[in-house]
Symmetry: C2
Subunit: 192 residues, 2 copies
């Protein structure tokens, strides 16, 4: 620590939360973990374990009267989960919408004629920097695709008439957020 409120070792302040010191502790394939000291505007210094993340996208693909879900193994939580299709912003310079187009083709073999930006959210803001951009994708058409073998993704079209039961069985935060927005927007005949 130094007398400089920004800190001799530190980076730029992030929205008033100044980085005073940053110690990388693990640089993995997916997880990059650092221990960071921040100085708040009131002078208090706090220590945080912070996981870096490039961000991600989640898509709500509506195909006629179905929403296209995916089922996949999620080792970190020990379950096969039913989720909305999603993917990481792992191509440098790729915009969120471009990533969403690529992932929609890769995971469910569809292109969308219409995209709507449904905002975004942090997944676990106490420890993880991941911000997820959410898109509604409609006017779908099939495209050629080669699923990535390791992902073992099964596409599960779910009838929108049965959306309350879907909301009851899905239990990951990004998918619930997208599906709760869809329930609000869905009129029975479409999305105005």
């Amino acid at each position: 620590m130094t007398d400089d409120p920004r800190g001799g070792e530190g980076g730029p302040p992030i929205n008033g939360l100044a980085v005073e010191a940053c110690q990388p502790v693990y640089d993995g394939e997916v997880v990059d973990l650092s221990v960071v000291r921040f100085r708040r505007p009131n002078g208090r210094v706090v220590r945080r374990e912070v996981i870096a993340h490039p961000g991600a996208v989640v898509m709500v693909p509506v195909d006629g009267a179905h929403v296209l879900m995916v089922r996949q193994p999620r080792e970190a939580v020990g379950e096969y989960l039913l989720e909305l299709p999603a993917g990481k912003l792992d191509v440098p310079g790729e915009a969120p919408l471009e990533c969403a187009r690529r992932e929609l083709a890769e995971e469910v073999g569809r292109a969308a004629g219409t995209w709507r930006d449904w905002g975004g959210f942090f997944s676990a803001p106490a420890i993880l920097a991941e911000y997820i951009h959410c898109f509604l994708a409609t006017d779908l058409v099939p495209v050629d695709h080669t699923p990535i073998a390791e992902e073992e993704i099964e596409v599960v079209p779910w009838p929108l008439d049965d959306r309350d039961r879907l909301i009851a069985v899905v239990h990951d935060a990004k998918s619930l957020t997208g599906l709760l927005r869809l329930r609000h927007a869905w009129t029975g005949a479409g999305i105005p």
Copy 2:
């Protein structure tokens, strides 16, 4: 690796995703990170960086015609965020509802006469084991409380009449999930 599909070094299978080997790589104050090899039912072995987590609770506290939000510094994402009150299951043996009662008192100084279980969800199931239990809390009464200084939590009562704007400004997944459920349940006069 061994010929035993469960693995000589491994633990028990979790829903068909057998742990074959587990190497702890960082044991922090909040983040415990391991590199785990899993064997799927089809025999494929995958390597995952897994962050352990005891789980958490998030509360949707409805006080008359307001929902009680909190604003706090979230260093990992570099912002002050407006969120629903929440907390970690960090007391050994504490049930989720007991944790919710404790955190509601600590963070917003209220006790609830009525609790409703609104299910739960994983926050980031690709890497983080955190499962968050969501509760609706109504019939609130004030209780004595001593806020935890380091948390710097500001209570922000938000009018339910203005819930669409709240949903537009909140951007963390657990809070959006709770607020989107609240929007669906709220009749204008209460929650049936």
